[in-house]
């Protein structure tokens, strides 16, 4: 088991490097480098521009720039005044030490800004994930156990529709119905708020937070539950039709024990893998929700950065997102290997 984990870890590192190289190359193809934000400053002379260029390491060839981006250049001697004699060290610390560069928009370091907004996104998407799990798992199991019953057919039809529904359209319809349409019978204003994380200026109140959560969470839940319940249903059905279930029944085991102790445990393995594989959405999946509901999270920050072509910010978020994805896949493999010993000898 330990060997398997080590092997998979070692495979993950070159994958991360490959992804970072890909992103770095892509971002450098685009015009609008870090010096474009300075070009309008009156104090910028040609010399200073050149000097800054050398400080950022932009005059070096791309592979060197990549190494600088990764490991910084404060251990490298650079030549700031162009006379061929190196006179100082660079200022970048590099990604490996947490320096993701400076945002083009506000010249602040990228990583602290991401960390500032990340909790709001995780708050929203994490709750969505929990709700999805609570709703989809029982639905999937019951659907499989009572195959072709009215419940199953309704669920299958609904999940079919849920998978075809565009997220943002559902969000707009929800806003239309609950914010524009319905009114709170007591206050006469909208039933549910149309955006934001909490009512600005008001005191902290759980009810207020929940009200602001209902619509964005519902928007994400529908599509997600549609996929999961269908997946769970088919994986549960596969297990139920296995021979060992038939044996357990033949031996006289009562139906409930057959389902919970034998069938469910085995059906849970693909489910756990699926949860791990979907987990990265908690970090990366919020762009549309946050844009629709004016949620102050990382997704909306990414969207704003993309509109302003703030490449360091975009790179930072993408790298973090890829790290989460690669690590989640790793965890999924490890958990799967733990639960199903047959996989370990791959």
């Amino acid at each position: 088991m330990g060997q398997y984990i080590v092997r998979r870890l070692l495979q993950a590192i070159p994958m991360l490097l490959l992804v970072s190289i890909l992103l770095f190359a892509l971002v450098n193809v685009a015009p609008g480098g870090p010096l474009s934000q300075f070009s309008r400053s009156r104090r910028m002379t040609a010399e200073r521009a050149e000097s800054l260029k050398r400080q950022f390491g932009l005059d070096k060839p791309l592979p060197v720039q990549y190494v600088v981006w990764l490991a910084g250049n404060d251990w490298m001697a650079i030549d700031t005044d162009g006379n061929g004699i190196t006179d100082s060290y660079g200022t970048r610390k590099g990604v490996l030490r947490g320096d993701f560069g400076f945002s083009y928009q506000n010249r602040e370091p990228v990583l602290p800004q991401i960390m500032d907004r990340l909790p709001n996104t995780v708050y929203l998407m994490g709750l969505t994930l929990i709700v999805v799990a609570i709703v989809a798992i029982p639905i999937g199991i019951i659907s499989a156990v009572k195959q072709y019953s009215a419940f199953d057919i309704t669920v299958t039809t609904l999940s079919f529709m849920g998978r075809a529904m565009p997220e943002f359209w559902l969000g707009l319809i929800l806003i239309l119905v609950f914010y524009v349409g319905l009114d709170n019978p007591v206050t006469g204003k909208s039933l549910l708020p149309g955006g934001g994380m909490y009512t600005i200026g008001a005191d902290f109140s759980i009810v207020d937070r929940v009200k602001h959560l209902i619509l964005p969470v519902s928007m994400g839940v529908v599509g997600w539950v549609a996929w999961w319940s269908r997946f769970l249903r088919s994986s549960m059905l596969e297990v139920i039709n296995q021979d060992y279930i038939r044996t357990a029944r033949a031996k006289g085991q009562n139906e409930r024990k057959v389902l919970y102790r034998h069938a469910l445990k085995n059906a849970l393995i693909p489910l756990v893998t699926m949860i791990m594989i979907d987990f990265p959405y908690v970090f990366t999946g919020a762009i549309v929700v946050e844009q629709l509901f004016s949620w102050p999270g990382m997704g909306r920050m990414y969207y704003d950065a993309a509109t302003s072509r703030d490449y360091p910010m975009l790179m930072g978020v993408l790298i973090l997102g890829s790290i989460v994805i690669i690590l989640s896949n790793l965890m999924a493999d490890i958990i799967y290997a733990y639960l199903d010993p047959r996989v370990r000898y791959d």
């Binding site: 070159p14 994958m15 490959l18 992804v19 890909l22 992103l23 892509l26 971002v27 193809v29 685009a30 015009p31 609008g32 079919f160 529709m161 998978r163 075809a164 529904m165 565009p166 997220e167 943002f168 359209w169 707009l172 319809i173 806003i175 239309l176 524009v180 990265p280 970090f283 990366t284 999946g285 762009i287 549309v288 844009q291 629709l292 990414y302 969207y303 993309a306 509109t307 072509r309 975009l314 978020v317 993408l318 997102g321 890829s322 994805i325 690669i326 896949n329």
Partner: protein, 307 residues
């Protein structure tokens, strides 16, 4: 012993081809036929969009924001343009992009999957790493970045037509799924005896790949392509909704919904209809995909006997 009368009176039926078998099984699938009917209606209406008396791009400010009526079946938008016509033209764009994306992912995914699956070894190692790396990128975020970058560079093909740009953006992230599928097919069928026989007869690798192994994968590839059009339409609408896909004034279901966002309270019809079209199109594609999958599944007959 066949009697002479039997032989003379009955002409031999030619053996049923694969296509007619699949079609017959597809026809029996109620969901699939329903989906096919809806999709046909949609495609025909989209193609007939030119028949409308209203123009999709000329503004008519006098008539802006009209609610649905007999003149304007879906109402008008902020510039007085008929929403129905714009939705239908948007359908053209979305469907074109959907097919383009599937074309791109097949053109890239099938060769790469075949190479990885057939040659194995370091070829497979390398290609699998590329596939995994592509799949490790957060999809929507990367597509937004790519779309933003492609706007800044001046590549002649891409600048002229935002449909091709967005198809490329979507295709770049959708080929790995196809490649994985094809690779799996190759791993399954590589060891078959007819492959060994073909090699013994001196067939080139290319011939074996195309003539012997690939036809086995046609089933899953067709199903994946059908469903892929649906995914592509969904992704394109999302990108257009966020402003990184098809740019106005060209209508696309996604960017129609984006424009509807500001006026949601006063003019809700702007948001309802484009989204409805996306929903109907994707549902019918999914029905058809499921029908095709069941029709092509050789094991379905066995389960039907069981029941």
């Amino acid at each position: 012993m066949p009697r002479k009368a039997d032989v003379k009176n009955k002409t031999m039926k030619s053996p049923e081809t694969m296509i007619s078998l699949v079609w017959r099984r597809f026809r029996r699938h109620p969901g699939a036929m329903f989906g096919a009917v809806i999709l046909t209606i949609l495609v025909i209406s989209v193609l007939l969009a030119g028949l409308s008396p209203h123009d999709p791009e000329i503004s008519d400010i006098k008539n802006r924001f009209q609610p649905p009526s007999w003149t304007y079946l879906f109402g008008t938008d902020g510039l007085g343009r008929d929403v129905l016509v714009r939705v239908l033209y948007g359908g053209r764009v979305s469907l074109t992009v959907g097919f383009l994306v599937v074309g791109i992912s097949l053109s890239i995914g099938v060769p790469i999957g075949s190479a990885a699956g057939y040659f194995g070894g370091w070829v497979d190692n390398f290609l699998s790493k590329v596939i995994d790396a592509t799949l490790s990128l957060p999809a929507l975020m990367f597509m937004i970045l790519l779309a933003a970058i492609l706007r800044e560079i001046d590549l002649p093909i891409l600048k002229s037509d935002s449909k091709i740009t967005i198809a490329v953006v979507l295709g770049v992230l959708s080929w790995p799924t196809v490649a994985r599928l094809v690779r799996a097919v190759f791993f399954t069928f590589r060891e078959m005896e007819y492959v060994t026989a073909a090699k013994a007869l001196g067939a080139s690798d290319l011939r074996i790949i195309i003539r012997e192994i690939l036809p086995n994968g046609l089933g899953p590839i067709i199903v994946e392509s059908t469903l892929g059009v649906g995914y592509a339409i969904m992704e394109e609408s999302t990108l257009s909704f966020l402003g990184f896909g098809i740019m106005p004034p060209t209508p696309s279901w996604g960017n129609l919904l984006d424009n509807a966002q500001e006026h949601l309270a006063e003019y809700p019809w702007l948001a309802i209809f484009p989204g409805l079209m996306i929903f109907l199109t994707i549902i019918s594609i999914n029905f058809i995909g499921d029908g095709v999958r069941d029709a092509l599944d050789p094991y379905k007959i066995l389960t039907q006997i069981d029941e």
